[in-house]
């Protein structure tokens, strides 16, 4: 028995040293390929002109902080969720509310539109992700058709349908991500690796294959293979929680927004961080990020109530947008890139163009 204990300790020590040497090797490999900075490569690219982006619509109706929003593929409908437990579907052109449902919990931190436009998913402090079919029958009670799909052991922080209405990917305060079958509620795959709450996720553009990226309170961004459940790449350069991750439109990179007041760009093929978007004057956390269609612009919402627009290639800020009267908590560019929507703790959503 004594020899078993000794054997285990030796194995632990040798594993630890192997881990250290592998980490050192990884850093060395990544450093070797770091031959230039992104903004240097972009030196000759024409600078962007002045941007005139204004609030074109204000969506009012939530009774408390807006926590999350998502666009419908039809480029006009928006689903949003709030601290007061309400989930609302809006027509952003007319600002009319088309559907509203009250969740049994407060802090509905995640919501998503199904690709078909016929359902929405949401969840939060109830530790679940539920799917609600959208019906235009005035007599139908939306809450009655609710389907519980995902069950976590802590709050739901993010959810997204995959390419179809049939599967949902979730991220949770329990430190895991999971893939679920909507119809049966069955767990198809779980993703373990984060050392703390997972706060956000984003699916790779469909052409890039079956991967997604997640960000968490462990300051790590991790890229996962959806089929195997394996983490294929991990990045740990942020100095605080990662609140938002979003793929670059080509699928070769992703951006992150963090409580450390910076946004960063990680290239998947170079396997490293390639740009930091920060300014000394920006001291509040970035809560949400998204790219414009070409990937040239990065829109980021901050806890200081502003939205900063960054030139992704040159690393400079091209515009700062004021309007919200409290933290910006969520931000998404519309599917056809003509506008972006931001949600805030000031209870409103704004559509900018």
């Amino acid at each position: 028995m004594a020899t078993d204990g000794l054997h285990e300790n030796e194995t632990l020590a040798s594993l630890r040293s192997e881990a250290e040497s592998l980490k050192g090797k990884l850093d060395e490999e990544r450093a070797k390929l770091h031959d230039v900075e992104l903004h240097q490569v972009a030196e000759r690219v024409e600078a962007l002109g002045q941007f005139v982006m204004k609030t074109r619509r204000t969506l009012k109706g939530h009774g408390n902080k807006v926590l999350c929003m998502d666009w419908c593929k039809d480029k006009r409908r928006i689903v949003s969720s709030s601290q007061d437990g309400k989930v609302i579907v809006w027509d952003s052109f007319s600002t009319n509310k088309e559907h509203a449902v009250t969740m049994p919990c407060t802090w509905v931190m995640a919501c998503a539109y199904a690709p078909s436009g016929c359902a929405i998913a949401c969840g939060g402090l109830d530790n679940k992700c539920s799917v609600y079919p959208l019906t235009f029958d005035k007599n139908e009670n939306m809450a009655a058709k609710k389907k519980s799909v995902a069950m976590h052991t802590n709050y739901l922080s993010a959810c997204s349908f995959t390419n179809s209405d049939m599967q949902i990917l979730t991220a949770s305060g329990d430190g895991t991500c999971a893939l679920w079958d909507v119809e049966s509620g069955q767990l198809l795959q779980s993703f373990h690796g984060h050392g703390a709450d997972v706060l956000c996720l984003d699916l790779a553009p469909s052409e890039t294959g079956n991967t997604f990226v997640s960000g968490g309170c462990d300051k790590k961004a991790m890229v996962w293979d959806m089929r195997s459940g394996q983490c294929v790449q991990a990045f740990e350069t942020h100095e605080s929680d990662i609140n938002s991750v979003r793929y670059y439109p080509s699928g070769d990179a992703f951006a992150s927004g963090s409580d450390d007041a910076t946004c960063r760009l990680y290239d998947l093929r170079a396997d490293r961080e390639v740009a930091i978007y920060s300014k000394e004057s920006i001291i509040f956390g970035a809560s949400s990020v998204d790219f414009s269609l070409s990937g040239r612009l990065l829109f980021a919402g901050y806890n200081d109530y502003t939205i900063n627009v960054w030139d992704v290639l040159k690393g400079s800020r091209v515009s700062i947008l004021f309007g919200h009267e409290n933290r910006v908590s969520t931000l998404r560019v519309s599917p056809d890139g003509t506008a972006f929507c931001s949600g805030s703790w000031d209870h409103t959503l704004r559509v900018w163009a």
Partner: protein, 68 residues
């Protein structure tokens, strides 16, 4: 003294690192050039970048016609 569980955990860490060490990486100059290329190629089709005119952007105010 849960020796075996920390060994198991450490094994997973090492396995993960071995996997990541085996990745094929590209130079930043190459990766950056591709990112730049993608941006430039798609720039014209990016409404928020080019500032699409009122007539085609459903969110921008329409110019009002008045009948004389």
């Amino acid at each position: 003294m849960s020796g075996s569980s920390s060994v198991a955990a450490m094994r997973k860490v090492v396995q993960q690192l071995r996997l990541e060490a085996g990745l094929n990486r590209v130079k930043v100059s190459q990766a950056a050039a591709d990112l730049k290329q993608f941006c430039l190629q798609n720039a014209q089709h990016d409404p928020l970048l080019t500032g699409v005119s009122s007539s085609t952007n459903p969110f921008r105010p329409q110019k009002v016609c008045s009948f004389l």
